[in-house]
Assembly symmetry: D4
Homo-oligomer: 233 residues x 8
């Protein structure tokens, strides 16, 4: 039991409860949301996972947080664009199935990379289809056969956020749409594509929070794992 949960303390205050049994129970490594955590707290959390030899993925990790982790002597990989930090001390399990991550434009790439790297960490094969927005349909139509091969599609788009609707009409796999905060003015930090995606007239699409590439990938991988589990049973 002791190695299944850890209660971290800082200055006499218990600030986090870690769940080491999660991987065995769910088949997925642990994940940490970095914003709002002090560098001290983040290092303590990662040290605990390292000691327990559990894989861990950190999202929205700032450069400062990464350097604190690195300076603490922990072995991690960090991607500046997506701000994803991944432990290298333990190999996460793999999944059968693939996820296509598509973006409307180049500016959506950081969120798309968060999705792509999360899906990889959770064990899925990943294909990237970036800059295929609907204002130049020929770019999307040129890639659609490849996208159709994926078991799940993640549509990452800011501005008018129409990529998801068009994709859901063109593929048979489930589509998870991720609005991004790319844009200005009446984009309102991603509200425009969020509303656009929620109101899609296309069937077979659901939505996650603005800039939540992680959440889309975690959901897609849960679909894949659930399928594996049923296939085995």
């Amino acid at each position: 039991m002791d190695n299944q949960e850890d209660n971290l303390m800082d200055g006499g205050v218990s600030f986090a409860k870690l769940d080491f049994a999660r991987e065995a129970r769910t088949g997925f490594g642990e994940t940490v949301f970095c914003p709002g955590k002090t560098e001290t707290q983040l290092v303590a959390i990662l040290e605990a996972f390292s000691k327990a030899n559990r894989p861990v993925l950190c999202t929205k990790c700032s450069a400062g947080q990464f350097h604190a982790v690195k300076n603490a002597g922990l072995f991690v990989e960090y991607d500046e664009v997506s701000r994803i930090l991944i432990s290298v001390w333990a190999k996460p399990p793999s999944l059968s199935g693939s996820v296509a991550v598509c973006t409307g434009g180049t500016a959506d790439v950081p969120v798309a990379e968060e999705a792509a790297r999360t899906a990889s960490f959770f064990g899925a094969a990943v294909q990237r289809q970036y800059d295929v927005g609907v204002a130049g349909l020929h770019r999307l139509l040129g890639r659609i056969e490849e996208i159709r091969k994926a078991d799940a599609v993640i549509a990452v788009a800011g501005m008018e956020g129409a990529l998801g609707s068009v994709l859901a009409g063109l593929v048979e796999a489930p589509v998870v749409a991720v609005p991004t905060s790319v844009g200005y003015g009446a984009s309102f930090g991603g509200v425009a594509p969020l509303l656009s995606m929620l109101n899609s007239c296309a069937e077979g699409m659901t939505v996650v929070n603005i800039d939540n590439g992680f959440g889309a990938a975690a959901f897609a991988c849960r679909m894949l794992r659930n399928r594996m589990k049923r296939e085995r049973s």
Copy 2:
């Protein structure tokens, strides 16, 4: 001067100032926005135009308002779907050029008809392309050659409002997008397609108010008239 302006009174209160010189000055007939006007006021306004023999178009006219006008013995045409009421006592001038009015779905037709009938009243040729939304791209692509023949394109769409962006990428004519209040939940009465259209990554598109089919058509016809005027000069 007297026949160029009329100051209507009701119960000692002057509630409207009519502009009979408008047609001569701008080439367009007069238009009246009906909501908030009493039946008495609307009848008085139309009687004044009838006496002056000027064409007039009324928008968002309720069935009750129409019946009051009809019962007053005025000769008008009324379309229930678009709530457009048009005088038949004077023939409005015509324009050279055509406008394509497109909708995402069937539920957008009332707003599209407001646009189409306004454009006709202002003298333009009109083509209608309804139910060509982006969730089933084949429907739109099957009509695109015909739409490309128009001098101006009006894209009417509720829900995610992506029709305008896709159209603006496929045609060379200017595109005016009209968000509609069709939808529910996070559509927020048309806010979702409005934001989507304002944030379009497509070039060559502008936007009017939610459900403002009239405004889109009036703008399109101003473009056509401006062109005619320059061609003549």
Copy 3:
């Protein structure tokens, strides 16, 4: 080809383009969103499907629309609570797999029934778990073993909308959350649970529009069908 698409006309205006090939192509029957359609339009659409012998599901159908359809002599089933209308002239295909539809309270039942009846129409087995909201956790915990048997979970909740987060932490299947407009005051017609669900700290959950039980079920069934297709290949 002719029997794969139908272009419906009303008063010289083409208001809808029907897609009869959809079922063969996607494995799902056609669906119609009723709001904003006139009774004449809806009857014409259903008559066309009836003639083509294709199954069709209508969502958010008003009692008035249902009576118009019934009076036109079409054979349909109508559920007042969910406002779902289903054709009985053709048997839709079935899916292997099951969907659990859960609600926070009794007032969420109409949206849940929209989801449940849609999932049934699309061929899934459905289990209903209503009135298991988080303010009385014992009710939810008493049902959790049964819910865990489902291949997909739909969490329908208004008010604070926390049901989805709690469920996603308790089951392994993908969870689709549906915010409902149940509530008053600062619920803002469902905005409160919508935001709550979008910001969930639980992994493995996505969101659809407020009151969109149909969309959640359509997505869940796309997951099931996609799995079947892969299993066969």
Copy 4:
């Protein structure tokens, strides 16, 4: 009377009116909201309290403001995490009763510490239960017996803000919910948990402003003091 109120001046302008009789009248020390006050003003206010030998608590005090106070030679304690600054020149009165401060995650700790330190300053016993969010119910259920011992419960949560509803269903003490601005995207700076908490279907819970740990603790202590007063009478 002179020592019960002080009218502070800066550059000929009276910018603050201090109330030294407050402690005697209400049983609570004075509190100062720091944002928007210049360092000069804050130092002047604290010097006045120091001279009058009254305890004072400052909220949302920036590091810069703290250093200005320290450099002025005033004896204070400062907590960086919660940005609480407390005078050490006078001992505030104590209360009988205890407050449990709970958080959904680690990132909510700054607001929780504002609540916990305020409750201590006002004389209550405090228990801290951090990182017990609803996406992992076992963590909360493992602590619930201890939480039930408190006279008042403060539920601090960002993201979906469901902690308060679940707690209010599990304990008998009054629950004050504090939404936090932890999150991103459609969290809108804490609007999501605020709305979630206002719409809770749980009885026995009220809400304070986003990030207002101070206000929750002040209210809880007013409950405790009111009880003491009634017990004595």
Copy 5:
């Protein structure tokens, strides 16, 4: 066990799970939120409580719902103003302590009566102080001595919602503020007083949802009961 929970069915669907053990466990009778429930469902729920001889309070009950309940032969009291319906078949327990319910204006009375009748149902003594808004301070100051006698104060106000802040500065008891949807224009259905109350600079006040008189009273009574329980222990 059987008489502690009841699972109500309608047309083969279980739509509600009743909790008869609640009164014994919490000291409070059961409550039912009526909007969104069909008349059939509400009658079934009340019949179950009647059979189990448990007291029950229904909030926001429409006149139609009341008549359905009455026609089913159930013995209840109904107040049109507050839309509160109360069972008369069982006497709810009483509390020691009193609640003052205050309103800014006459139009706030329906929400205030919801609070007052709920507090009475839960066993508290209630004093009513209506139409004492801050734009005419003399009215409030004339009543303040009486209000100070209460153990808890509920401040019900629409428009600018300032009553709570002023009251919290004048009394020592905890103040629960209830914003009301009274007003028009930029009141936005109660958002104006809600924000005003959340941003109060007064200590010792918390807030509930717009028009949630019930919630304020339920919280106040939880405070009183919690005090009783501690006094006995």
Copy 6:
């Protein structure tokens, strides 16, 4: 003292506190905001004023409320357009000075009439300038000399709400702007003109609530009365 305040009761509940000394103290008659008051309450309030022989003005009075008052035998005047009801049993005091009430369009007349009739009730001379919106500047410029004669200007406008800014640049008198809920779509019930007016780049203009013609007139008359008072002193 007794005849200076009256405490009205209904069913044992005191629902209103009347202030008969107001006229003597402020120089203005009493005013009543009708929404949210039952017919019984409104009649009781007006009967009390009638007995006390005090003038009273009621705003936003529904036709139903008016008929209840009339059927109770009270002598009042009612204007359907502005929904203003005025007592005829007592003559209110008069002011020296005049107010110009201007509107952008005909649909703004109801709010303008609320302002105009309120200003008359409070004793000011009133000039009406309706339908002088900025999209046809010649109409406004044709009236500007007359408007300049007024001591205060009230600018009533919906839609883009630009009338106030233009007026404030053309006259020297203080301008009070009243946004109206006239419009549709992105007008959001008057939010568009409200924001427009609050952001005016014109000096010498302030704003009242959406549709609050009463408030603008009450403010204008306070300006006039204050001037009279100073002139006499």
Copy 7:
């Protein structure tokens, strides 16, 4: 004419049109809104006024802008708190009458000083009453006699913004309310007090934009000037 208007150029672009005749025409000096202007533009504008010997007041002037102006050798006074910059080369005209500027708290002082300094620049006598918020009514009541002596009252308040309503009920002079962006969380940058003030149930109050101390003072001085003008006529 030449010295009545100046058309400023920068890099071949005319960026500003100055109005030197304004003082003669309106009795007020010119004012400049600084945000969005480059330092070069601001210096050019002030140099033109200096050459023309006209008084000028600049609002929301940053420290950087001030230093650019100072380094250009222009004689100005700058107040850091209110960010008001005033020319010293010309004496503005004076007015008869006084303005009371009141604030709820110390943090509102910057906006209040903007109002106070603007009113002084426009020639009014100014009294300051700071930190008299409604949560401690005794502070306000202690100053009310002095405030009643003013010809116009400006109520500056953030948070719940109730100061204006309470003041308008206590004084006879017109009250202009200024919401401030002081606060956090659900203050939404001043929206909370803005809505509170717009929905005030007090008569005789109007509102300006958030943090617009300048606008309130300009309006108050227009009232005073208008009175002077009438007195003379």
Copy 8:
């Protein structure tokens, strides 16, 4: 084909798909939206256009991005005010016709310059009319004859955004309105002028996103090009 599209790679990831055939197809040079692109990506994109000898316009380009481009040895022009960066390696095609760019104030100049420089890049003649806002109508009326000579009018305004409505009533050319984020408080980053413009009661005006000078000019030039094309055909 190879030289018509280029697929840019960075670190193994394809982040952009370039369209070199665009100019031939549409008559317009390519445009790049800079925010969200890394300096590496932007340089790679511009190098590709430079090699292909195609003209390119970059919008909202930061100073840092410009320096990266310059340091890479690419020949470009950069305007700090509008943040427009233009290639100098290829001459873009020209259009017949002119565009008038007008602003309400000096602070709107950056957005206006974005429009003016875009229109120039696309080949139109441009006239600039800055600082002609509606609060001082004489400035606008003094320029109106010149503005009437343009084929399209762009109205750039923040604050109340009324410039577009007034212009559309005074000219015959189509008017495209651009709201700007100039302002503070209830401007909400440009929402106030955006709503004002969408609700304009003037005919012949459409709207683009807040601060989208580029979009307005692109649309205006599409109008001009469309006219040329028709004239030739």
